[in-house]
Structure formats: C-alpha cells, structure tokens
Point group: C2
Chain length 504, copies 2
C-alpha cells in the first residue's frame, strides 16, 4: 500500500485519492469554499496552493470561509493572487490586511460562533467545496481532524462537495482528542449538555455523507508555528495586575482558588498574561477557550491547569515539537471542539467563564476597539472576543497603555470603532493597573480608568478632555467635536500628545 | 377576616401585615433595595411612596435595583425626592432622565439579563430589602407575582429581608401563569430545559425563606397604563417593509409561515410594527419576549399568535380592562418568566428568535445607538435589546428615518454612542425600506443602508460623507474629523441638514 493510504481506513474511499492540482481543477470561478483552519492550525494547505497556481493563468474569484486565520501563508497567497471575492470570518495576515483595507475584496468580520448558524439558516452563500485537513478517515467514515476543528464540521455538513487533505505531518496521536457533535437547526435543537470543560458529548470525528467526498489529497507539511513573543516587563506587570484582581475576587468570596474556566484570546499579549498565572497561588484551573497557545501547556506542565478545552491548538515551533512528541501525556486532559461549541453563548454563560481578550484601545467609559486601527483599517477581526465578553462571568480586556513609544495612547476619549460596548466590559488591564468597572455608572468608570489604566504621559490630557466634557453634562459626557481629536492629531502630527503637554 | 388577609393562605404570615409607612420606616439610609416592576407592570407601589414621604423630613439615600422601568410615577418621585444614590438597570421616566443626566445620581445601564448574575456572583451591593408586588401567598408560602416577574425572584432569593405588597387591584386570575425556576450559580448549573416558548420548567410562584419576610402590605392600585401611541402612516410602512423582508425569507426557504419565536422591544414603534403582522399571511406565530404589549393580544385575538412568553405584561388602559376581564381566555396561551429566562442567551440562541428592537439612530455601517441622545444624554437604557440582538437568529432594528420634522436624520455617518455593533445588527428598517446586512462587508452595507433606509432629504448629504471617507480607504472608511459633524451641527444650528442641501 502506498504511503498515506493506511490512514484511509474505509477501503472504498481509497479510490478518491487525487493530486492537489486535480482537486483544485474542479473548483470553478464564483464558487464558495469552506476551509479548515483556525489561528494557523489545521488549515488546508495543498489544494489552496494549487488553486493559487491556477489563478496565475486563468481568472478565478472565490469566496473563502474558514474557522479563523490561516497559516502556511495561504491568506497571503490568496490575497496576492487576487483570488478573493469575499473572505470571512477572520484573518491575521499582513498582506491580506493591506489588500482588504485597500478594498480589493470584501472582508466580513463576524463573531466566530455566528458563521455556522448562518450556514444552517442559509443566509450565507452555499459552500460548493469544503476543504478540510485531517489525520485519518476511520473505518466507519469519520473524518478525524488535525490541530483545529474550527468550522470544519459544519462546512462538511453543509457543503455540496468535500475534499480532504490527509496531512502526514500531523501526529496521529491526535485521534481521540476531538469531540464532534452536530447541532440541529435553531428551533429544533435541545440543550447542549456540557456543564464542565471536560464533558464530552459527541464522536471523535466528523460524520460525513460518503457520496459528498470528491477527493482525498495527501500532504506533508506542519502547521505554521505561532510567532509567540515572550513575556516582557509590561506583560508581566499586566499579569500581576490581573492576578491581584483575581486574588481580590477570591478574598471577597466571589471566586475560589480554582477560579472559573478561563478563556484567553489569541496573540502574544494574551498568551503572556496567561503565562503569568504560573506565579499565582491559583490551582486546579480549567481552561475553556478557543485556542490553546503555549501558555496553557506551560500551565499544564506546572500542574496549574488540569483540563483544557478549545477548538484549536496553536503553538510556537519549540512548543509544537515538545507537545506533539509527548501528546499522550496531555491527551486525557484535553478536548477539542467545534468553534460554535467553544464559543457558544449557552456554555459561556452557564459555566461563567473568565474571559481575557486583547484590546487595541479603549475609551474613558470602557468601550473597546478590538479591530480597527484609527477606526478605519482592519487589523485582524473581532474573533471570538464578542462571543465571550457578552456572555462571560468576567469580560476582561488587556492592552499596553501606550504604543509607538508613546505617540499612541491606548486609552482615548472615544474609540473610533466599537467592538465591545460599555455594557460588556467588566475589567480593563494595562501595565499601569486595572479598572474594575462592574456595577459602575459611566462617570464612576472614568475615574477608575484614568486613575488606574492610563499612562502618566496622557493622564492630564485625558482628564482635561473629561473636565471639558463634564461641563456639557449627560449620563456619558463628551465633547463630540474633540472626541476623535487624538486620532486626527496622530494622523496629522504623528502623535496623540498635544504639542506641549502641560505637565512638562 | 379583614379584607386582603384571604390572599395570605399561610396563616402564620398574617401576623406580618403592616402599614406601608411602618415597612418603609425599617429602610435605612445607605441601604440597597430590590423592587419588583418591569416596564410599568407589577411594580411595588405603596412602600416606595411611603419612603418618598419619609425623605421629606430626613436625609435618605438608597440604591434602587428593579426589573426595568417602574410605573406609578415611582421613578419620578424617587428622582424628585433626591432619594437615589444608584439606580439600575433601566428607567423610562422623564424626570428621572433629566436628573440622571444632570448627574444627580448614578444610573447603571445594564443588559437586563445581567443584573441577576451579578447578584449571584456578589458583584453588586447586597440587597437589604426586596420589595415585591404579589397577588397572593400560597399555603406553602409561594409568592405569586402580579403582572411582571422581572428580577423579583432573584431579589427575594438574595435579599436580607423581604417585603410583600399584596395588590388587591391585580386580578387573582393571574395565578398559574407564572413559571419560576431558581438558577444555580454559574459553574454549578445545568442546561435550562426550555426548547419552545410554551415549555414550563418551574413553580407557579417565588419560593422564599419565610424567616426573611419582614412585612406584608396591602395595596389597591392598578398598574400605570402603557402610553401606547396608535400606528401611524410611517409605522405602517415600517411594518410593511418588515413583512416584505420576512416574506422573502419564507420564499427563500429560510423560514416557514410560522416564522420563529418573535421578540419585540418596548415602546410605541415596536408595538406598532408588531401590530402590522395582523395584515400578514404568517400564522401560528409564537412570541418569546420580554414584554407583551397590546399588539400581542391583538394578534392572539386575531388567531395569528397562538402562544406568548414574557416577563411582563404592559398594556394600555383600554386593553388592560379587556384582557384582565377575560384573562382565563388567554391564560393557557401565556407563560410569564423571570427576565433572566426571557432574556437568556442560551434560549435566545437555541430557539433562534426573530428579535425586533427600536433604535434611536444607526450609522452607515449598521452600528446602532439605542440609548444616548446626541451621544451624551441617556434616554431610557439598552434594556434587553443587547441580550436579544447578539444571540438571536435575526437582530432587527427599527426607527423612523427622520425626527423633529427632518432636523434630525436617524441615519448618520457615525453614531455617537454604540449599543449594538455592526457584528450584531442583521436588518435595519425605516419607513423608507429595509437593509438586509447579513453576510455583507462594511462597504457593501453602506450602499444598502443609503439606498434603502435614509430619508431623501439626507441621502445626498450622507453619500457625500461616504464618498469623502472612501478616499481615505480602509475596511470601514470614515472622515473622523467630520464623523460627528451632523450631531454638532444639530447642537449649534438646530438641524443636521447642511445649510443649502445640494438637491434644492
């Protein structure tokens, strides 16, 4: 048997093995594709590459739906090839970012739990081809996903055709870690019977109508490693503030030393902050998150975290080697789920998650911008932060108080794009301190935010804005004609700082 | 037996009957009160009045938590008496509005499903006295609420002391319509086993530790009637557009003629729009909402709606007489629940509600302001609109395209307060038409919104803003220094219209 075929345990399906080029040749201009992949993990690789090759010689535009961001430069190549009509629900590639901000294609920035419901409802274009990475296909035809599940199951269920990339570079020891469960349409479904992160309710793979499987492609390429930046002095301070806040919660009797299941957002800052829990007194922690980054495995190694649930595992190169070489050690403490289960409002609310996500900037009343630089340019997307913050026990947002050596303050009078409203934001953390906004009116929040979160270089300037605003009165005072003046000053003068800060 | 005592079926509790004045005398300066009442229905009346009287002769400040807005001028009297330190989570009284905007007390504008979780967590000040209206107390000590449940059950459960107002003016036929169910703390609870609006999972009254009942007061005052404005030409057009949208959904196979359970927001416009369904072909409809206003009973009378669930019944004077005189006719087609169940993310998502709420204004990308006039002055509050829009099948917002005879456009470049982000808003409806934003990128949404929803007097002006914004590029183009120019022009010149609209 040729190498790879042994991963197809259902013999009839072995006839479907084709080259990536052949599979890609079936995709037609105007089609909609549903690709596996969530934060660089478990993405389809070979067929997208072949599709990009095809686009060099013929006009080709497709819609691309995914779980979240792709690795392997697929989003970069798609964007460069001009192959996209519409892309959703998330991306995190610099080239794609530039081109979508230039208006070269449409990007729809969605809550990551919403795409699947829209597919079920039929409100998104129907998927012509689901293209999903897998480690194997079982005897009874279950597709065993690799390092992410994301939207793969719902793509397979609602697609006209299914293409499978069997990736030899992904560890077969992943088999058994997944928990797949098909939700009925809204109005026809019952409760989702998960009450703790470790509960399993489904099967170990994606059930698929075999008639829909049009092709199986062998690949052999590891996931792109996550470019995790190590903790620095400021992320360490942020972690310390967060720990202090959580310790106060324990002291007040609102949490125990086990806290509550933790969700932590994507990226270096969130990873670094989570990493800080290593130095805390909390114990027997559980994680119920979208993505497991390096920090979660460090916390597991240290005996701090004893169970973790997510829809994707996204690691640095070093960590990837270590974790997958010893995956059996972690497996009984892990479960991977579809992103609509990891990000499900029902479960987030029921379990009362502690949700920690990264903000680009926030304003004096606690509204958060997670997506748009200067209010106009998309960074990555809202991701799951809205699924979590709205429904969690604690919606916590973290960011450094300044950027670009102080030319940008991350705390501003008015955020020029709102992703999380004052109603959803409970706690804000910068390296300066934390502001606990729960149960506070806007005029109370301002004081906490300015006192605790703003960098000293911007404190007085922000207080001046607020003092002027207060003269105008209202529940939420503002000076509308100056609300975005910090952003326009940055655009014109390269800094949000007034020319001569009065504290100089 | 003195009149009223027959409503206290547990004999020992009859010793607790006191005057409202005596009950009010127990409340001390600095305490926190949890009052029944949701959108003018089922509010505690006598003890609040007595408290206001006390405040005339002694300094008294309290925190007041409720379900939502109160009737019987209680919020007006509280505000005038200067009795408030903090008020949450909603209000709708003109005097209170003025005083909170003047900064006389703190108002915390919360998602209506969140207050109960915060009480359970211990993140709000502990309630010293729950004061709840009831129609009776059963033999086994259940408190049978009146025309609203709101937060009453959780107030009773978490308060130190409980005061009950037995209101003789409320119909005893309400007994049996309520469904009360105590949620465990987050992390300790299971699924909420409601899959259809008619499912009942609890008891007919609020279970209470009898030792906490400190006083029972008799009252005899009807709820304040709802000031429902009859449908006008524009609300009729809005209803027609909404029906057309829903008919298209049926035609596309995304909904059936029974649609999906409907939630409709508070107020005249939402009521009028819902009223419009009388003239539709939809049938066997179900309602799963916060509040039932007149329109729902008209739809029941017409055989359009066959079941309705809510946490409050708020009717006009005429309708109140008719419905409560014949309540047995409606009772088996109604259930009343706590507001955390009517507004529960788990259930809203599971059942896939069609959610219809009122916007103050929205912007060219579909961000909605529901709360702040000119971005600063609180109108009423977000209410449950965020609980619903985020988690519903369809988040629909309705508003008239202009206000103040055209000096205000309800569609603006940038909303000066965001309550619902672009991620949560699916469909916008004005009397001009509807914009279906599902699956659209920001630059696609602008076109639909300007073409379909904007009043002709503002169309060109809005297009000019967008054309200038587009030159700056980005996923979500804006001209930040002009983003609020419509609002500042209104503040300075009394109109959002540019002096000489180019179409003149």
């Amino acid at each position: 048997m040729e190498k790879g075929y042994e991963r197809i345990h259902q013999p009839e399906l072995r006839n479907h093995v084709v080259s990536a080029e052949e599979a890609a040749s079936w995709i037609q201009d105007g089609m909609t594709l549903g690709l596996s992949g969530f934060t660089r993990a478990g993405d389809a690789k070979a067929i997208p590459f072949a599709l990009v090759d095809r686009a060099k010689t013929e006009p080709l535009k497709v819609n691309v739906y995914t779980g979240a961001s792709l690795g392997s430069d697929v989003d970069k190549l798609f964007a460069e090839a001009g192959i996209l009509n519409k892309r959703l629900p998330f991306q995190a590639d610099a080239t794609m970012r530039k081109k979508l901000n230039d208006g070269e294609f449409y990007f729809v920035d969605q809550h990551l739990s919403h795409t699947s419901e829209m597919l079920r409802q039929g409100t998104l274009d129907k998927i012509d081809y689901a293209i999903v990475e897998a480690i194997s296909i079982t005897e009874d035809g279950l597709i065993i996903p690799s390092t992410s599940i994301g939207n793969s199951a719902v793509f397979v269920e609602y697609a006209e055709n299914v293409l499978i990339e069997l990736n030899m570079a992904q560890p077969t020891s992943l088999e058994g870690v997944h928990d797949l469960f098909s939700l009925e349409k809204q109005g026809e479904r019952g409760p989702i019977n998960i009450t703790q992160p470790e509960d399993r309710i489904g099967e170990k793979g994606i059930r698929v109508d075999p008639a829909k499987i049009k092709g199986i492609v062998f690949t052999n390429q590891a996931d792109s490693p996550s470019p995790i930046v190590p903790p620095d002095e400021e992320t360490k301070q942020m972690a310390d503030h967060l720990i202090r806040f959580l310790e106060n919660e324990v002291e007040a009797g609102r949490l125990t030393k086990n806290l509550a299941p933790i969700q932590s957002g994507i990226g270096s800052i969130a990873n670094a902050v989570l990493h800080g829990l290593l130095d805390s007194d909390f114990e027997d922690l559980k994680v119920y998150s979208e993505v497991l980054q390096d920090a979660v495995f460090d916390l597991m190694d240290a005996g701090k975290v004893n169970f973790a649930s997510a829809c994707s595992i996204t690691l640095s190169e070093e960590k990837m080697k270590k974790v997958f070489a010893n995956f059996e050690e972690y497996k009984n403490r892990l479960v991977m789920r579809a992103q609509e289960i990891s990000n499900q409002p029902e479960l987030i609310r029921r379990m009362g998650l502690i949700s920690i996500n990264t903000a680009l900037e926030f304003d004096i009343y606690g509204n958060v911008n997670s997506t748009h630089v200067s209010g106009m340019k998309m960074m990555n997307g809202i991701g799951g932060s809205g699924d979590f913050a709205r429904n969690a026990r604690l919606g916590i947002f973290v960011t450094k108080s300044i950027a670009k050596n102080g030319d940008i303050s991350s705390v501003v009078p008015f955020v020029p794009h709102v992703d999380h409203t004052e109603h959803d934001v409970d706690v804000l953390v910068t390296e300066q301190g934390y502001a606990d906004l729960r149960g506070l009116a806007p005029r109370e929040r301002v004081e906490k935010i300015i006192d605790n979160c703003v960098h000293p270089m911007y404190k007085e300037q922000l207080r001046e804005y607020y003092e002027e605003a207060k003269m105008r009165g209202g529940q939420t005072p503002h000076v509308l004609e100056k609300a975005f003046s910090w952003h326009t000053r940055f655009a014109e003068e390269g800094t949000m700082l007034e020319k001569k800060p009065s504290y100089v």
